[in-house]
Each structure stands twice: as C-alpha cells, then as structure tokens.
Amino acid sequence: MTMTAMAKPEAPSGCFPRAENRCHVVSNAPMNSEYRLLVVDAPETGLSAYAGQFFHLLCPATATEQPFLRRPMSIYRIDRENGQLGFLYKVTGKGTRALASLAPGDELNATGPLGVGFSLPEGTKHVAMVARGVGLATLAPLARMARAQGAMVTAILSARAPEFLMSRDELEAAGARVIEVNDVAGNSAPQEVINRLRDIHAETPIDFMATCGSNRLLGLTRDLCSEWRIPGQVAVEAFMGCGLGMCFACVVPVRDAQGHEEMKRVCYDGPVFGVEEVTAW
C-alpha cells in the first residue's frame, strides 16, 4: 500500500464525488508575461477539492485554437467561503492559449476534482516545500492545508529570475514563510538549496517535504527525506487523455517498497506520489 493511496476518497454510493463542473469565470488576469490566474465560481462538487488534486479543463475553441482533449491543471486556490476555485497556468500551447481567451462571465467546464492529492501525516509540525515554475501552483493549497493542521510551513520558491517568481503573496497569506531563490542571484542551484534546507532543518526540524515541477528538486527532496527519515511527496505531471484513470495514457514508472516497478496512472493513482516511489519522469 503506498502512502498516497490513503488519501483516496471513497465514493459514497449513489452520489458522485467528481463532476463536469460548469463554472463561471470571475477573472483571468495575467500575473506576469507568462502566467495567468484563472478564478471561477464553482459548484459544490468542484469546491470539495483538496491540495494536490487537479481539474481537467475543457479549453474553449477560438478562431486559432481548437484543442480536442481537456488539459489538466492543479488546483491553486480553493476558496470555499466565496465558492471560488483558482488555477495558475503558464501559456504554452494551444490549450492554454485557448484558456487565456476566457473572459469574465464565460463558462468553463472543469471536470474534477481529480486524482489523489497530498496527505499530511497527523501530527506533522514543519513542512518544507520546494518548487519551481508552475509547480508553485500545486503547492500553494498545501500550505493552507498544513497550517490548518497546525504545522509550520517553509516554502523555497525557485525561478529563472526574480520577475518570474510568483505566489509569494498567496503563500504568505496561507501563513507560510517564503524564501526566494533564482538563477540570476545564483542561489537556486541544488547544492545551494540543500544547504539552505539543512540550515532550516537545524533551526526547526522538518518532518515532511513536498515538491513538484522539476526532476532536480525531486532528487534533492528524495535525498533529504531519506537522510532525515521523514516522509516526502511529489506532484507529478504527464500527458493526459482522460484524466479519470480510464485510458492509461498518463503512466509513470512507480517503485514499491520491494523495488517492483509498475506503471501507474498520474491522473488516478497520483498525481501525488511518495518521493521514494517515483524514479524519473
């Protein structure tokens, strides 16, 4: 049994824990030259999402883009009070370009919440998270989840340059301590990050780590977790067909405690896995 499997919600019979949520766009503003924040009013089922889960978004057809499949996006903000969900996305190809065309009031069909998200062991005291690029989107709600469970959160945010860094406010609002590193300042190399984490650990022992978005960060997280004998989790990405565990397109090799490798579905068995389970992806 993998650790992540514990978090899988049991489907109450006769009711549907996931749905094609028909949401209304509240805002869809650029955060910087690459990223946008899409905020939508969401129905009940959508709002049941938790950190690490994702939605499969039906990107609208536009004059230039007609994406056929949905696109997976991590849940970045779950605002149950205002009935809103937020997605932080990078405009890269036709699906995200189409998403960028959504205007307030437009409908967004968002299937979810999907997948197995983060599960924080009870009694966790200090969560350290390291993320780069759009990986931040996935970790922000984990900060809130951890604070709600009474844990302290330290987030190391890595970026190419200071201007590409995002989510500082979102994370600080969630109650996390935020440390920024970037390639321009030269303090984002793995060894630098490891040193930083060792210092932090020496100050206040870290008992859970989370990461996503880069193989390098996964490597260093796995090493530190194993050294400190603490659990760690990683949110993985893969090209998806269905997002619902049906097509087996999104598989990654996952190793169990006995070293057996098996192809697991990022959308259904993940996207969050134990750091020791995932080899490379």
Binding site: F16, F68, L244, M263
Partner: protein, 314 residues
Amino acid sequence: MVDLFVTIGGVHMANPIMPASGSIAEGMADLVDLGKLGAIVLKTITPDIRQGVKPPRVVEYTDATLFSIGIPSKGPDYLLNHTVPFFARFGPPVIASISADTAEDFGTLAGYITDPRIAAIEANISCPNLRAHGRAFGMDPVAAAEVIRAMKANTDLPIWAKLTPNVGDIAEIARAVEDAGADAVVTANAILGMGINAETMTPRLGNVVGGLTGPAVKPVILRMVNQCAEAVKIPVIGCGGIATGEDVVEYMLAGASAVQIGTMNFVHTAAMEQSIAWVTDYCTRKNIARVAELTGALKLPVDQNSEQRGAVAL
C-alpha cells in the same frame, strides 16, 4: 414512449449505447450513472500481466486522437475478483474483452473467465498475432475465424468479434467470423496511424504507431459498418468517432444494431447519457416506436448496387 431495447448477439440491453472497450474504468463511476448504459464493456485483458508500451501514449489532433497504450493488463484473476464485481453491481450486462498471442490462448482465456456475471465476451482481434509477424488476427479471415472457433469451443457465452478497420475488405472478415460462430461483430477498432514531430525528427508516440480514434474517423467506420451489415446476418455494433446521438442514429441507419462510444468519454463524460436522450427525442419526433427500426433504415438510391460502393472514384 420509445422502446429502446435491443438484443445483440444474445445480450439484452435497455438501450443500444455502451462504452467501447478501454474507454471507461472504475473512475467513470465517480461521475456517471453506469446503470443507465445499455451494457458495460470492459477493457481488454490478456492471459498474462502487462505494463503496456513506453510513453508518450497519446497525440492530439483537431478532432481525433492517436493512442498507443499496449493493452496493460492485470490478467484474468484480477478481472474476475475485482473488475467484474465492481461493474456488475450497476445492473447493465457486463461484456468482457480479451486478447491473446495465439488463437488457442484466446480459447483458453475465454474458458477461464466464463462466469455468470459476464454476459458476453468481446474478442479483440486487432492485436498482433505472434504467428503472423505481428499482423493482427483481424487482418486475415482464416486467423480471425480460428480465434472465434477456439473461443466457442471453450465457452457458452456469446462471442462478439471486434474487427480491425486496417483491412481492405472488412465484409470478408465479418463473414469469416460469422461462419466461425460469432454472435455479433463490433466494427471497428482503431485505424493504425503515426505521428511525427518535425522539430525533433522523432515519432510523437513512444510506440511509434497508434490507433486513430475520435470524430474524424466516423466517415470511414460508418462505411465499414454498412459493408458489414450488408454481408452478415448477425448484428453489427458500430464503433468509431461517435460523439452525439445524431452519430448513433447515423450508425444505426447504416446497419448497426447498437453502438459503442470510445474517445468521446474522455472529453465529455456525459456523452453516452446525452446520446441516449438525443436518440429518444429523435425517435419521438420521427414517430419511430422502437429504436431497433432504425437499423439499416438508410434510404439508398435504387439504381446503385452495393458493388458500386466498394471503391473510391474521385
């Protein structure tokens, strides 16, 4: 009230709409009331346990997808102990789907999974035949018939033969499996295709080739359904690019007795339910009492025989 009931190769269905093999799994039950479907067709299993092919496993086109999965399989015991019980509780007949490397293995596997909770077995004969240099069983009428005969010899369950569209004359294969005892044909599996990334000069799929599916293939498979329906007496199940109830009606007019929806389940989980509703409305406004009346009801030109429909003349 429109009568939606159909009987397909020994299986009684509340309506003619079901998922295509490999297009639903347990996850679908989290969103869709599977009790409303005509039948529940399971993903193909093999006798052995398989992990499938190297990713990437999917390429997207304007209204089609190219998938290459490689039939990951947890084997027959997992099917009987987990998959069948999971789906049997929803009510509609459960159709298992199998594949194997040789005709004998098809037969053995069909016998092994014969079980009262399974209403019929679909033979996925689009997979490579190890004895024929990787060509699919379904590309050769003799090999296709052998598979069906081996299965019939090992089980009393109805056998649906799922044909491959990668043939010149699909009617010939349909006739061969009918003669071998198949109770229905499913027309068809996916069209073999390839995707290339010009920038990297590499294939887009880990497995190089995959199956083209989705709305873009409809005109091709619709033609094949019509050819099969004219060639055999057993029911033909249409499968290829169905997205809406209108597509379902087109397939039935072409000769299908029921249909399967595949890729569209990945995009719109409500596709099957919405199709059932659309077909019901269609029959109502057209005063068609039984949906089964649609089968083969296409009005063809009187002055054209079916031979004139066997080749392209552009």
